[in-house]
Every structure is written in structure tokens, then in C-alpha cells.
Amino acid sequence: MSDTEEFNKLLAEYRALQLRVTKFSAVEQAMINIRDRLDSELDMHKRMHTYSTLALKCESESEYASLTAESVVGIFETEMALILICKLSDTDSYVFSSEGGGDSFSANNKGVVEAVRSLAAEHPDAVEILREAELKSLEPYCPLNDALCYNMVDSDLGFSLTVIAMNSAARAPLYGNIEARIKAIFSVFCQQLTSILANIIRRQTISAQFQSLKEASSELNKLSLIATKTQNCVIITDASGKIEWVNRAFENLYNYQLGEITGKLPREVIIASDSQETILELVKSAISSRQTQSKAIATYSKNQQKFRSYIEITPVFTETGELLNTVALIQDVTDLHNYQQSLEQKNSELKKINSELDNFVYSVSHDLRSPLLSIKGLLNLIALDETKNDVYLNYIQLALASVDRLDDTIQEILDYSRNARFDLNLTQVDLRELVQHIFEDLKYSVEPRVHFALDVTGSSVITTDKYRLETILKNLVGNGFKYRKPDTDQCEVRVTVDTTGKDVVIAVVDNGIGISEKNLPRIFEMFYRGNSDVPGTGLGLYICKEIIEKLNGTISAISEAGKGTTIKLQIPALTNKN
């Protein structure tokens, strides 16, 4: 063999060897790749296991959601993850958590939640890989390249769960695309986290039920403690209405022992036969309305003692709405009832007396005055004829003055009793009209030499008690006339009204004989009379003061002997409520 042949042979062998080495290293590389992938999947499974252990300990949906979002990012190595748990019965009730998205996917952002919801609605299939075009609805918050999306609805427990794991090339270019092979693992993982969530929700429901049960039982303890101690009688019946328990107060008042009435119907024990139907209706209405119903009814003890009772019936229902017990609370209101009856009797007596008094007032004004007035008329007639005999004429004048005084007294007592007895009756009153009428009335009996005048500033219409104000003004205008100067033609009674201020101010001004400084402070006193020359009862101004107080106003007097008197009324301006 030549050297050349030898070399060529060696070269060929070397090449073959080189080829084999190359092949081997490719195989080696493939094996390394597989090992890495297996390592990463193992790691993923390890992390999934860790997640499950932690997630099972979660006590609330929000704790679960934030743990899950965090874990999805960790396990699947995506940039971001979103979790949305919705309650099916209440669209406003949801739990949302995000990881890696920062403020873009804040739980406070209702728009994000809506976008996730609509995305979930578009992809109802359990697991999908979504690409850029399918993620447009989330683009306003963050532009996304691809995403793993899981969506499920549990109608038994009433919740839906949406998990989205996604990448954004714009924000984090180093993250690769989501690989299709990951979909299977993601699917397994999501099934796992769904069952964990279901577990949490079930646990919560049970604990809420347990809590309410605990509360109810402590409530029941408290109630039975109260029922034992209370002075009121308590009967507890079972669902069929039969007595289960009564308290000590019941036993004492009604003379029954629990043992002898257990299992009986309460109405057959303490209610008279003719009222049993009534109480049955009450119980029925309490049960159907699910509310306490009450009624006043007579009850009877074992030895037939009668009590006036106030019965309150409260139905008690179980969690599921079935009637458990009925609780009857019985108060003995016999004393109250007797008191009420005597009060009612007194009230009706009072009403009778009141109406008799009304009649009396009316009778006095008619029947008592009528004969008096006919005496006056007759005396007037005699006076007209007996102009020749001065002595008789004088007697007649004296008799007339006595009649007038008696009549004045009757009138003033009537005014006083009207003011004291009747309520205020507020209406719109035209003061101009009212005062004019008073003037006209006087003009029939007054010599024309007294001049009457009325000045009104502002509106003449006010809201007040017409008859009371009229009584006052009649009195005051009458006084102005009565106490005029006897020896002049310049007598004037002027009424001024000012309704422009906070108070209505009315003044009655005369230029008559006036009141001395000494007498002025006493003119509003009962039976006080400043002048014995002019007939009077001493009641007029006292009554005016009583009435003005009823009207919440004030009355005051300014006067100077020999110059005249001004009586000023101030009453609060009212607005008519009608």
C-alpha cells in the first residue's frame, strides 16, 4: 500500500469519525433540551403543588385571587395575570386581582372588570390561547401580544371564574411568545384552582351558617332568660300551637302548673269560648305576615278570675322558613284598662258639661238678657213720656243705669268665658271692614258729635282670630266713646293700623278725659275702675288683656289726664296656614 493510499484511507476514517461525532453531539443536544424541558415542567409542577398547598389555606376570595394571580405569573412565566371571580346572583359583586400589570389593571378600575367580562363572554371555551387581534378589548389598558385564557361558570355555587395570563411585547420585549404546549398544563392547573375556589366558597357558606346558628342560639338563651325573669306572662307553643313552656309569672298569675297544661292549646286554657276565634285569627295573621301581632282581650285564670290582657304573638321560624314556635307575651292591663275606662267616662262627662256650657252661654246671651232688655225698652218709653215729673224721671234714669250695668256685666262675663273656653280660630280678617262695622254699630246709638276715623298703613288684611280681635276693638272704641269729654264738640276716636312691621300694631286713640298717672298702672286689673262717674264693670280692659294674651300679643296704654288716651295693641303677624 502506498503512502498516498494509506493517507486517503485514514482521511476517510477521520471524516466518518467526525461525522459520527457531529451526529452524537446533535443527539446529546436534543437530550439536553429534553432534560431542560422536563426540568422546567417539573419545576412548574412543583410550583403548582406549592400554590395548591397555599391556596387551600385561603380564607377569602380576595386572598385566593391575589395568590392565584401571583402564582400564574410565577408558574407560567408570563408577564401579567388577571383573576376575576363574579357572583352570578349579583352582577355588582365581584373579586378582581391582577399581578404584574401595575396600575393598568387596578381593581378599582371598573372598565377593566367590564372588559375582562366581555372577553370571557366571547371565549366561553374552557382554555384558549388568544392572540393580539383577540385581545383588543384590553388594549386601552395595556397592548397585549398573546394570552392564556381560562373561563368557567359554576351554576351550583353561583360563581364564575376567569383567569388570563398575558404578555405585552411593548412593555416587556424579553418575554417570548406563549407556547402551544403550555396550554395542556394551564388547563390542568386551572381545573385545580377552580376546585380550590369552590372549596373556599363552600367553606365560607358553611361558616356563615354556623355563625348565624351560633348567634341564634345565644339569642335564644337570652330570650329564655328574660322569659323566666319577666313579670309578664310568656307562653311558648310548638308549631302545632300546643303549649310547650310557660314562665313562672304565668303559673303564678293564672294558677296553672306547666305540667297540667303542656300539650294543650293556650286559647282553650285562658280564653273565654266566645273569644277563641278572635285569638285564632290573631295567631294566623302573625304566622302569615311573619310579624308580631297584638290585641287587647280578656283572659281567665284557673279559678275564673278575669284579667284585661294585652297579648303579643310572635312566630319564630327556622332558617328554612318553617314555623318552629309561637311565643305569646301576655301583659295584665286590668288596672290600665280600668283607668282608661274611667278616663273615657270622665271625658264624655266633660264633653257633656262643655256642650251644656255652650248652651248655657247661648241661653244667657238670649234668655237672660231678653227680659232685661225689655225692662230697658219699657223704661226708655216711660222716660219719653215722663218728661214733666223730674223726680220720676230721675228714678227712671237710675233704673236704666242699673239695667245697663247689669247688661254690661253679663256681656263681659260672656266675652270672658268665650275667650277662656274656645280655641283660636285663625282666618283672614280685613281690619278696615271690621273697624268700620264697629263704628257703624256705635253710630246707631251715638250722637253724631263724636268723630270716628281709621288710618291704615300697609295691607288691611291680616290673619287673626276675628271674633277675639273684634271683642277687643269694640271694647277699646267703646271706651274711647264712653270716656269722651262731656263739654266739647271735638270728640274723636281714631283707630290706626300698621301692618308693615314684624308685628301688627293697632292703636285706639281718643282725646277724651284721659287717665291719671296714679291710675294708669292699674287699668288692666280685674274689676278695677278708675272713674266712678262713668258706669262700668271694671272688666273691659281686663278682658282685653286676657284676649290679647291668647293672641300672643301685648296691650299697653299711654294717657294723660284731660288730654286723652292711646291704647296700643301689638300682635305677631301670622301667615294663614289654610
Binding site: 247661648y362 246671651s365 238670649h366 238678657r369 231678653s370 232688655l373 225689655s374 230697658k376 225698652g377 219699657l378 226708655n380 218709653l381 219719653l384 256681656q411 260672656l414 271692614e433 262695622h437 257703624e440 254699630d441 246707631y444 246709638s445 276675628k466 271674633y467 273684634e470
Partner: protein, 141 residues
């Protein structure tokens, strides 16, 4: 010249006597017709109105009377006859009532010219005969 006439209706005869005396003191020629029953008074006026006879010039009417009150009396008149017809007669309430509500009711009838407290006095009567007033503001001429 036609004689004036006045109709007095009051269950209390004394007042009718007083009023008749006063009227005739002013003018003895005035004819005075008096009734102490409101129903008989109503019959009298009703017949005059139905047969279109001359009405009295004045009516003095009491309020509180047995059988029929003054207001019931006026109620029947105003429901049967027009105000225009009744206006031929000047109607005055003459009463011992101090109740302001009675005065209000008198005004509301629309036919009462005045509300006079008893007893009627000569001067008041004289004024009435001389001047036609509109004291209650309810009378339409």
C-alpha cells in the same frame, strides 16, 4: 200720600208693644202690624208676595223664636222669592243676641239691611226712617 207700614215679628209681646209705641211716637200715622208667631208672620208675608200686594216698608225680625227662628224665616223667603222682590221691604234683625256669628249669618242672607241690638231706641229708629243705610254691606240695591 201712602201711609208707611212696619211689620214687627217677635215672640215676646213686650217688645212688640215697646216698638209699636216708639214707632207711633215718631209718626202716629205709620201703620204697625205685629205678630208674636214667626209662622203666622211668614204666612202673612207669603200671601202678600204671592198676590203681588204692597209689602210693608219695614220688617223688624227677632232671631230666637219658637216654631221658626228669624234665620229660618228669612231662609224660606229668600228661597221662594227674588231679592229684588224682597228689597221692596227694608229688613232689620232686632235681637238680644251678642253672638257675632249671628251677625255674620244676617249679612249672609243678602237681604238684611241692619242688625240692631235690643231694645230699639227712639233715636236709632228715627235715624233708620230717615236714612237708608247699608250697615251690613250685604244688601244690594
Amino acid at each position: 200720600m201712602k201711609k208707611n207700614s212696619v211689620l214687627l215679628i217677635d215672640d215676646d209681646k213686650t217688645f212688640n208693644i215697646i216698638n209699636r209705641a216708639l214707632i207711633q211716637k215718631i209718626d202716629p200715622e205709620i201703620e204697625v202690624i205685629e205678630f208674636n208667631s214667626s209662622t203666622i208672620g211668614l204666612d202673612y208675608l207669603g200671601e202678600k208676595l204671592l198676590t203681588d200686594q204692597q209689602l210693608p216698608d219695614f220688617l223688624f225680625l227677632d232671631i230666637r223664636m219658637p216654631e221658626m227662628t228669624g234665620f229660618e224665616f228669612l231662609g224660606i223667603l229668600t228661597s221662594q222669592f227674588s231679592h229684588n222682590k224682597l228689597n221692596a221691604m227694608r229688613i232689620f234683625i232686632l235681637t238680644s243676641s251678642l253672638d257675632v256669628k249671628d251677625k255674620e249669618r244676617a249679612r249672609e242672607t243678602g237681604v238684611v239691611e241692619g242688625f240692631i241690638n235690643k231694645p230699639l231706641e227712639l233715636q236709632v229708629l228715627d235715624n233708620l226712617f230717615k236714612v237708608r243705610s247699608n250697615v251690613l254691606g250685604g244688601k244690594t240695591e
